[in-house]
């Protein structure tokens, strides 16, 4: 008898190939670790857009975003020797540094004054119409499609946490749901994103 189950969107067959493992970037980082400036220029070419984009998504302020993105890119130069290709892709390593740095900046600025949490903020891409968005169209479509496969609560929680830079207790407050609910929705949603995007680590 055929077992029926509600299936999430299948992994995108092309996903792992073009943005999945990034041997080139990993090799470039290995050269950067040896002080190769030319290799770093290539790394810059690959990563400056995503780094600046995600920092700006969280911070919004262009001047501050530029400052933080510069620090992050120089941090990549400085700590390239600590990148371990066995533990993840070079892009994820770099963007983890970028996102965390942006979030830390938001939280240190909000340390004194509690962030206003009355209304959920607009999480559309920062100034989508003004700045040139350089994300590959495929990347964007794939992410949008996979986000579309989540429940509303999973999707909103993930967007507020990642694009908004909110902590999960803040997300819970914004959405008016219990802490435990947000924790599990974020995890379940991210597992579905991982599977839908065909990420393989």
């Amino acid at each position: 008898m055929r077992r029926t189950e509600i299936r999430q969107l299948p992994p995108d067959p092309g996903a792992a190939e073009d943005t999945g493992r990034d041997p080139d970037l990993a090799n470039l980082l290995a050269r950067v670790a040896c002080g190769d400036h030319q290799a770093f220029e290539q790394v810059y070419g690959e990563l400056a857009g995503p780094v600046y984009g995600v920092v700006r998504q969280v911070l919004r302020d262009p001047a501050q975003s530029e400052e933080i993105a510069q620090e992050v890119l120089l941090e990549i130069w400085r700590t390239a020797s600590r990148f371990d290709p066995a533990r993840g892709s070079a892009a994820a390593w770099s963007l983890t540094i970028a996102h965390r740095r942006a979030v830390d900046r938001v939280r240190s600025e909000n340390a004194g004054s509690r962030r206003e949490l009355k209304a959920a903020p607009d999480l559309s891409a920062a100034d989508e119409d003004v700045v040139e968005v350089v994300a590959g169209r495929l990347d964007q479509q794939r992410v949008r499609r996979c986000l579309g496969g989540l429940t509303d609560l999973q999707r909103e929680s993930i967007k507020l946490a990642y694009y908004g830079g909110y902590s999960y207790p803040e997300v819970a407050q914004l959405l008016g749901v219990a802490l435990g609910t947000v924790k599990t929705r974020i995890r379940d949603g991210m597992i579905r994103m991982r599977d839908c995007l065909g990420v393989d680590w």
């Binding site: 943005t19 670790a33 770093f40 810059y44 400056a48 995503p50 600046y52 984009g53 995600v54 700006r56 998504q57 530029e66 400052e67 993105a69 510069q70 620090e71 890119l73 120089l74 941090e75 130069w77 400085r78 390239a80 020797s81 600590r82 371990d84 993840g88 892009a91 994820a92 983890t96 970028a98 996102h99 965390r100 830390d104 900046r105 939280r107 240190s108 600025e109 004054s113 891409a125 920062a126 968005v133 350089v134 994300a135 590959g136 990347d139 964007q140 794939r142 992410v143 946490a161 990642y162 902590s167 207790p169 924790k183 995890r187 379940d188 991210m190 597992i191 994103m193 990420v199 680590w201």
Partner: protein, 261 residues
Amino acid sequence: MKTPHRSAGPDDLHVLTGSYALDALAGPERDAFERHLEHCASCDAEVRGLREAAARLAMARAVEPPDRMRRRVLAATYRTRQLPPALDDRLSRRASIVRLVLPAGRRTAPARHPHLPRAIAAVVAAAAAAAIAFGVVSQVTAPPRPPAAISSVLGARDAQTETMRTAGGGTVTVTVSWDQREAVVTTAGLSSLPSARVYQLWVMSPAGISPVQARSAGLLRSGPVLASAIRPGDRIGITVEPAGGTAQPTTKPVVTMTLPV
């Protein structure tokens, strides 16, 4: 990793993999989870997978940065020493992922840890992070002090850091070494001034003592500024002054902060 979660014990922590991968854990909970990760291989594996997924979220929002950023970053690499490869894998992971990504301003005094290597790594990281900030900006403004003096304060064993928001937006971060009797002041996101105005840093006498005595510690452009010969109880203040600065403050400070003791 795909087991249903129950309500008690380690599963409680395990469910935080998603929030951790999105940097949605704040402060103590993040620290606790990172300690947990060291002993939970399945959590670690799950975090890595979810971070890859999070990276795709970032890539989908890639934006072309301003051209000047490229010039600045590439120029700064020629002034920035790189970290050597890590010899102890675990130490390096902690140092590079946990410590380096924290801005120097959020760290408090090191050396609370009995783990000496880790403390050293943190201190080196703090100094290097400052050197980076300095490197990036120093081509824009003439360096007010050699980076060594600034790194020496930021890397001091007794370094203490405090960050404060200014009334007009932006933050000011002060790192003090009482051993060296010096403080390093950096700012971020202060509202921009017309070209005929500058931010000037002052070392001011303790609150409650009047008249207030203030001596200039220099102009704040975008790089860190060193304040020397500080005394406990001193405050720092930032005022808006005519280009070139003044001998005494002529406006009300946009921020004052008592140096952390």
